[in-house]
Symmetry: C2
Subunit: 291 residues, 2 copies
């Protein structure tokens, strides 16, 4: 069987079943007393093209997606390690990459650089968390909240690829995604479940549903959307990934929900329901291998 037949999630399940890995689907691993380590790589030709991405933005994004994972773990960043593979480019390009990597304000304290045909930026972010909400604690009755608008990054990428003008805000969302450390500081102390939206809300909600053994019901009309995304493409926004907003499950009496947008609730059952005007919509998520 090929990877594309099994899918990324199928592979994770197979690895866990055989005892070869555990927790790979999580945003980060936890060691000792709340020490959090996460790792994410951006690969040329897969996650970015050098024709449409500046070195500085590439560095910024590589840092941001990892800081977003720390946010999802309720962790304060302590530093970054960067493994870079890169062809024989200009030194100034690599310095720009590092300017982007350090722009959020967290130091690069380790890593290495190797010559290769293609650029890969593998970042490890390290942080400390007083409480890791995880994905397994959502309960029937919980409210679901998100920290910001969805769909902007994927629409920005499409505008970029199709050479469409006038979508600078969306392109910016794609090039320089947010990392919601501020929101995480408010959500993490009490959230029943917390993750960052990297694969689309439908697919990411499924992870909470599976780990928490409950059903997540999302009212798609309540979900904040980035402006004008329907002018760029007609994929439903809940299938669009890389927004890096947070999705949290909060107790119904948790006052923190007032600071964010409630998009649904948790019920007894399993799976994810997307509803619009009371009608059930079909599910779809992003899987790196499933075609």
């Amino acid at each position: 069987m090929r990877l594309s037949e099994l899918g990324e999630f199928g592979l994770l399940r197979e690895l866990e079943r055989r005892g070869l890995a555990h927790g790979i689907g999580d945003d980060a691993a936890v060691f000792g007393d709340g020490f959090v380590v996460t790792q994410d790589a951006l690969a040329e030709g897969v996650h970015f093209r050098l024709e449409t991405t500046s070195w500085r933005d590439l560095g910024y994004k590589a840092a941001a997606v990892n800081l977003s994972d720390l946010a999802a773990m309720g962790a304060e960043p302590a530093g970054l390690l960067v493994s870079l593979t890169v062809p024989d480019v200009r030194v100034e390009d690599v310095l720009d990459l590092y300017r982007g990597l350090t722009e959020p304000g967290f130091a690069v304290v380790g890593g290495d650089t190797t010559q290769a045909e293609r650029v890969t930026v593998a970042v490890t972010a390290v942080g400390e968390s007083a409480r890791v909400p995880g994905r397994a604690g959502a309960k029937p009755g919980d409210f679901l909240v998100v920290t910001g608008p969805l769909g902007g990054s994927a629409a920005g990428l499409r505008a970029l690829e199709q050479g469409l003008d006038g979508f600078d805000d969306l392109v910016e969302r794609h090039r320089r995604p947010p990392y919601r450390l501020d929101a995480a500081r408010r959500l993490a102390p009490t959230a029943h479940a917390l993750l960052d939206l990297s694969d689309g809300i439908a697919s990411d909600a499924e992870r909470i549903a599976e780990r928490s053994s409950c059903r997540l019901v999302i009212d798609v009309d309540a979900v904040p959307r980035a402006p004008r995304i329907e002018e760029v493409g007609d994929d439903p926004f809940w299938t669009l990934g890389e927004d890096y907003e947070l999705l949290a499950a909060l107790a119904p009496d948790d006052p923190v929900q007032e600071d964010f947008t409630v998009v649904g609730r948790c019920e007894a059952g399993e799976g994810v329901e997307l509803r619009r005007d009371g009608e059930l919509l079909e599910l779809a998520g992003w899987d790196h291998f499933r075609v």
Copy 2:
């Protein structure tokens, strides 16, 4: 200026000078109370070829080189994170990769998998250390010791590439390098400096010399050599990398030196001297970009 003109070490210096990174040349970064994190990536076409490397050996090596970094930091491994980029290969190949990754006995507790044209295995190893010897503490009068024979891995790679038969032991050194956790447990509590030999002893010794502000004098005749490496190539063994033995600087009265091979000593001064029969030999080291 291009990276190849500046060299890998030159790039590191430039990054540190501008405050864009620090400690990148170290084996690992230290956080909080002895929490150690290291990251190393193996890239197809640079560090391995799938024609001459099995998936299982690739996984083993990716784990081993990172465990070696932990050993150099005097750390006990706590777990691995694995970011894999891979084309649409057989699921069984990826399972074999993970079998190799977990063969040393440390769990894979996080990471992700992404489809890409080329295979990259980026591993983050996490551990805890009661004492990190570092590279800056070597003093004039210290003895230098190594934990095993050098030159075998590079010779094995050459035998492999040239299709030479009869060098199985050397090829095995290349495919499945050691990680000297046992030796590190004895060396780390008292060593003045400790690192793992990945770029050749000449080049790696230079790092201790620079950080410790002293001169390292190595008697090349005293250095243990892997057997028959001169039958495969005539590069001087001190330029051959990827052996993953440890190099330590120990106080002259440190009894631990009796367990290892003394290969030189530390003197007042700077740089690295390689000596044979009292004669000074020229220096050469491996730099990923310098040509």
